[in-house]
Amino acid sequence: MEESPLHQFELHPWIPMSIGGVDISINKAVVFMWVVIAVASVCMVMAGSSRKLVPGKLQSLAEMMVEFIRNMILETMGKDGMRFFPLVATLFVFILFSNYIGLIPGTYTVTSQIIVTAVFSFLVYGISLVVGFSLHGVKFLGILVPPGTPGWLVPLMIPIEIISQIARPISLAVRLFANMTAGHVMLAVLFGLTVGGGVLIGWLPFVFTVAIYGLEFGIAFIQAYIFTILTCVYLGDAFHLHGHEEHAH
């Protein structure tokens, strides 16, 4: 009960290792990343192995997921965006599985480490920059001036757009990290109150623990969804500079 609610996020090296002064110790987060990858891969491979015309439970779940990701890409990027399907699907599946596996008591939520989410978001943003510059060249800088801006506003719009561009990967990383961390802290605090409250009053925080735990199932999905849809939106912005001017379809 005296334990800090933040204690669950502390990482201690299980197998200390370092290469050239860089600490690459194996800790709980690393192990659970492997677990997430293993569980996700096994689930997907098993779902894809039977390929029946009338799908079983696992297969229809996997088909739903693929269809869902496909719709996200089609809605935000159009047909051309399907070339990003592997990236988008990998991110979605990894985040979804790590959010859900983290909800099992005693496990670790990989996405509650900001470095994990930051690597994903900067990767996505970096790819969107590379795609934008390779497709549009220097004209990609025109993303800083939204279409329809009056000439006298341009010097004002450029700093504003630069800030909102820099804010993109940061908000992407912080949102996922903060939501997962906050949810788990809340659960730890409420459950601490349950244990400390005894029988007379302890039932009240316990009810809330159960309710918040249920809510966290929704949050786990929503956060994976938001991260993925924003990945699509950012890639789509780089892809179709100012809407569909150049890639009309």
Partner: protein, 81 residues
């Protein structure tokens, strides 16, 4: 897995998204202003103030933009230009 078309989840997702966008832009704006002050010109607090104002504007703009995207499907927004 809740279906994506569920209005509750779509709304929740949108709310969470806009909140962080506002805050992140404000922090980036303020941080850039502060960095310019501290490392370039030593004009504290003017860079910070201007940076915060620009950050606020940027946050409002991205929040407005995502709300707009929510109201009309992306194709309609593109047609309006």
């Amino acid at each position: 897995m809740p279906p994506p078309q569920d209005p509750l989840y779509a709304g929740l997702g949108q709310a969470v998204r806009i909140g962080t966008e506002l805050l992140a832009a404000l922090i980036v704006g303020g941080g850039l202003g502060w960095a310019v002050d501290t490392y370039l010109f030593g004009t504290i607090p003017w860079g910070l103030v201007i940076g915060l104002v620009f950050g606020l504007a940027a946050g409002m703009r991205s929040a407005y933009r995502s709300a707009q995207r929510w109201q009309n499907p992306p194709t309609d927004v593109d047609k309006q230009g």
